[in-house]
C-alpha cells in the first residue's frame, strides 16, 4: 500500500506491467475471437435478487460436482458383467462371485484412496441435483414464470428433469448390487408390461432374458456418454434462453414488465455465484463425508433370487415405485393365450400422463387464458389462485405416489399395518389432490382479500386511542408506497367472453375454452385500484 502511494505522484497514467499484460492478452483474444461483444452482452445480464431465483443455480452447480466426481470414478470402474471372485478388503464378501462392475465398485469403495468419498459425493450430489431441479420447477410453476416468452424454456427444463432422472437411474444400476438389480428388475417388468412390444423391447435392452450380461455396459454408455451429452446440450440451450428471455422479477417499485432490476453478472454477481458454487460443493462434500449412501457392500452382488425388505429406488424414481404399489389386485386381462398386465401398464400410463401434463401445462394455461402478452413479472402464488391450486393438487398427487413407495417403512416406523398404509395412499391419491385444490384456492383468495384489506386500510397498529367524545378506536397504520406496490400490482384476468369467430360461428373449441376460462378466473379478487386507494385515505 505504502509503495503505491509513494509512486502515485510520479506515475501519471503509466499502466503497471500487470495491467499492460492483461490489456495485451485481452486484446489478443478479442482480435481473434471478437468475444468482447459477448462479454459485454453477458456481463450486463441482470440477476434480480431473490432466494428462490438461485435454485436453478443449485442444480447447475451440483451437476458440475457430479461431472467432476463421476470423471474420477470412470478411472476405476469396470462396466462389465463378467463374473469374478471378489478378493478385496471387505471381509463378508471375500471369495463371493460377482460381476466385475460390482467388484470394481467395491474396490473403489475400500481399496482406492478417496474412492468412497467420491462415490458418496457423486451419489449425494445426484440426489441434490434432482431435488433442486424439482424445487426450481416448483418455483417456476408457482410464480407463473413459464408464461410467454418462456414456455419453450420450461419445456427444455422439463427435458432436463427427465434426463436427470434417467441419469440417476442408469447410475443407480451400474454397481450391479442387489438393490440396483432389483430396481432394474422392476424396470424390466414395466417394459414387459407394455402390450405386444414389451417383451421385445426388454430382450433388446438386456440382450436376452433379464438380467443377461450386457445391461451394465449399455447403461454405462448411456450414463457417461449419451445422456450427459444431451443433458449438457439442453442445459446450454436452457441457459441461452435464460439470457435471451431475461430473468423474471417480482413486482416492486421501479420494476416493470419492460425492465429487469438487479445486479449485473459482472463483477458482483459472478463473484457471488462463484462463491455460491463452492458453498454448494462444500455442502455436498460435508454431507458425503458424514453420511453413508448406498452401501453396496451390505446389499451384496446381484442375484435374481433374493429381494430385500425395504427395497426402494432413489427418491426421484420413488413415485413410479409407489404407482406400482398402489394398484389394486386383479388388474389383469386374459385374451386367449395372452395376458395383458394392466396392473403394470396402467400405472406406467398414469406416470407418462402426469409427466405430459407437467410438460404441457404452460401451453394449456396460455390457451385457457387466451393471454398472448409477454410476462416478465413473476406472480405471487396467491394472485393466481387456480394455478396455485392446480399446482398444489399436482404436488399432492406426486407426494402420495412418493409416500406409497415407502409404505413398508411407514408401516414399521409408525406401527401401522401395511395394508392400511396402502389403502390410505390409494384413497388420498384420488381425494388428496381434490382437497388440496379446494383448500389452496380458498387460502389464496383469503390471502388476496387480506392483501386488499391491508392495501386499502393499512394494518392494525395495536394503538388504541380514546377520542374526545369517549369513543375508542384502533389506529390503522398505512403502508408505505413501496410495500403497497407489492400488494396491488398484479394483473387482473377475467373469464373470456364467448364470442363468435370471423365466420359468425361459435365453435365447440371456443365453447370449451370459455368454460375453462371461467373455471380458471371465476373466483377472483380484483387488485386495488388507484382511485380506491385515494378514496380509502379519507376513511382513516
Amino acid at each position: 500500500m505504502s509503495t503505491t502511494t509513494d509512486e502515485r505522484p510520479t506515475t501519471t497514467v503509466e499502466p503497471s506491467r500487470g495491467q499492460r499484460f492483461t490489456g495485451w492478452a485481452a486484446n489478443y483474444v478479442d482480435e481473434r475471437t471478437s468475444i468482447s461483444g459477448l462479454v459485454k452482452e453477458l456481463g450486463r445480464k441482470i440477476f434480480p435478487d431473490h432466494w428462490s431465483f438461485m435454485l436453478g443455480e443449485v442444480a447447475l452447480y451440483s451437476f458440475i460436482v457430479i461431472l467432476l466426481s463421476g470423471t474420477f470414478m470412470t478411472f476405476f470402474f469396470q462396466a462389465s458383467m463378467v463374473p469374478v471372485l471378489y478378493d478385496g478388503s471387505y471381509v463378508p464378501l471375500k471369495g463371493i462371485e460377482m460381476s466385475a462392475a460390482m467388484a470394481s465398485t467395491l474396490d473403489l469403495s475400500f481399496d482406492i484412496r478417496g474412492g468412497l468419498l467420491m462415490r458418496q459425493v457423486h451419489h449425494w450430489a445426484a440426489l441434490l441435483f434432482v431435488a433442486s431441479i424439482g424445487l426450481h420447477m416448483l418455483r417456476i410453476f408457482f410464480t407463473g414464470a413459464f408464461r410467454k416468452p418462456r414456455e419453450i424454456n420450461w419445456l427444455i427444463g422439463f427435458v432436463l428433469f427427465v434426463l436427470a432422472m434417467a441419469e440417476g437411474f442408469t447410475g443407480y444400476s451400474l454397481p450391479d448390487d442387489l438393490l440396483s438389480g432389483n430396481g432394474l428388475r422392476i424396470i424390466d417388468g414395466l417394459i414387459k408390461g407394455v402390450p405386444i412390444v414389451g417383451t421385445w423391447i426388454s430382450y433388446l435392452l438386456f440382450g436376452g432374458e433379464f438380467p443377461g450380461e450386457d445391461v451394465v455396459g449399455r447403461f454405462y454408455t448411456l450414463h457417461i456418454l449419451l445422456l450427459p451429452a444431451i443433458l449438457v446440450a439442453a442445459l446450454g440451450v436452457h441457459m441461452l434462453l435464460l439470457i435471451i428471455n431475461k430473468h423474471t422479477q417480482f413486482a416492486g417499485p421501479g420494476r416493470t414488465n419492460d425492465n429487469v432490476v438487479g445486479v449485473p453478472i459482472m463483477p458482483v454477481f459472478a463473484a457471488k455465484a462463484g462463491g455460491f458454487f463452492f458453498i454448494i460443493f462444500g455442502v455436498i462434500v460435508l454431507i458425503a463425508s458424514l453420511f453413508q449412501i448406498n452401501p453396496i457392500w451390505t446389499y451384496g452382488p446381484y442375484d435374481p433370487s433374493p429381494v430385500s425388505a425395504g427395497t426402494q429406488p432413489d427418491w426421484y424414481i420413488g413415485f413410479a415405485d409407489g404407482a406400482l404399489r398402489l394398484v389394486p389386485p386383479g388388474w389383469e386381462l386374459e385374451l386367449g393365450p395372452y395376458t395383458l398386465s394392466l396392473n403394470v401398464f396402467i400405472p406406467t400410463l398414469v406416470l407418462v400422463l402426469f409427466l405430459a401434463v407437467v410438460a404441457l401445462y404452460p401451453f394449456v394455461e396460455a390457451w385457457i387464458t387466451g393471454d398472448k402478452r409477454e410476462h416478465h413479472i413473476a406472480d405471487r402464488p396467491r394472485n393466481a389462485p387456480t394455478r396455485t391450486a392446480i399446482g398444489a393438487a399436482g404436488v399432492t398427487f406426486y407426494a402420495m405416489l412418493w409416500a406409497a413407495a415407502s409404505s413398508d417403512l411407514i408401516a414399521t416406523h409408525f406401527r401401522l399395518t401395511i395394508e392400511g398404509v396402502i389403502h390410505a395412499c390409494q384413497f388420498l391419491l384420488i381425494v388428496g389432490p381434490i382437497i388440496a385444490y379446494v383448500v389452496t384456492k380458498r387460502v389464496c383468495l383469503a390471502l388476496q382479500k387480506k392483501d386488499r384489506e391491508i392495501a386499502l386500510h393499512g394494518y392494525e397498529s395495536g394503538r388504541i386511542v380514546r377520542l374526545p367524545g369517549g369513543e375508542y378506536i384502533e389506529v390503522h397504520e398505512q403502508l408505505d408506497e413501496y410495500e403497497r406496490w407489492k400488494l396491488v400490482s398484479y394483473e387482473d384476468y377475467k373469464p373470456l367472453m364467448l364470442r363468435p369467430n370471423a365466420q359468425g360461428k361459435i365453435t365447440a373449441g371456443e365453447r370449451l375454452r370459455s368454460r375453462a376460462s371461467s373455471w380458471f378466473f371465476e373466483d377472483r379478487i380484483a387488485p386495488v385500484t388507484k382511485t380506491e386507494i385515494e378514496k380509502s385515505h379519507g376513511d382513516h
Partner: protein, 267 residues
Amino acid sequence: MANKPKTSARRDRGRRHPLATVALIMVGLLGTGGAYALFTTSASAETSTAAEAQVEDGSKLFAANCATCHGMNLQGTTQAPSLIGVGAAAVDFQVGTGRIPLAATGPQAEEKPVQFTQEQVAALAAYVASMGPGPGIPSEEYLGGEGDAAVGAELFRINCAMCHNVAGAGGALTEGKFAPPLGGVSATHIYEAMITGPQNMPVFNDANISPEDKANIITYLKYLDETPSVGGFGLGDLGPVSEGLFIWIFGLGAIVAITIWLTAKSN
C-alpha cells in the same frame, strides 16, 4: 458390543414378578431338599436330581405364570398354542427376549423387558422340554461368531433379507406384523429363532440350513453389529428412503437457508 452389557443389566434389574417371592421360597426349599438329596445319593444321581429339581421348579413356574393361556398340561387353549414338542429353544427365545408373557394381544408378540431371571427361564425351558422332545438350547460352538462371514452374508441375503432387510434393519409384514431389526440380538436368540421359527418366522431346520451355516449367519450378523458403518452415519440402514428424506430436509434445507442468507438485504 455395546448392547451386550445393557441386555444383561436389564435382565438382572427386571421388574419383580408378583410371584417371584413364592418362586424364591420354592427355590430355597428345593435347594435345601436338593442339598439333602445330594448327601444321600450317589454322584450319577446328583445331576439327574438337579435336573429333576429344575424341571420341578419349571413346572411350578409354568403353573403360576403360563398355564392360564397354554393350559395346565401344555395342551394349549383358544388363547395360546400347545407347547408340547416346542422344545427348550422356543421357551428360551420367547421368554428370554421378553416376548412371552404377552403384554397384550396384537399382531405379534413384541420384545420387552424380560419378566424372569435367567434361572427361571432355564427352569421353564427344562420343564417344557421334559414334556415333549423339541429343539434344545444351541451349543456354544455355533455361537462364538467364528464362522465364515462371507458365506453367512450370502445365506442371509438369500434366506433372511426379504423380511429382515439386507442390513438386518427389519421390515414390514402383512397386517401390522413385522420382522424385527437384528442389531444387538444375542447369538443364542438368533440361533433359537432360526430353529424354532417364532411368531411369523419360518423354521430353518438343520436340513435346511446346517448348524455350521447357522453359525456363519451369526458370524455375519456379529460382523454387522461390531463394524461401524463404513461411509459415515448409516441413517438407520434403511436405504434410499432415508437418503431421499435426508437430502430434501437437511441437504436442500441447508442450501435454501444459504440462498436466503445470500440474498438477504443488509439491515
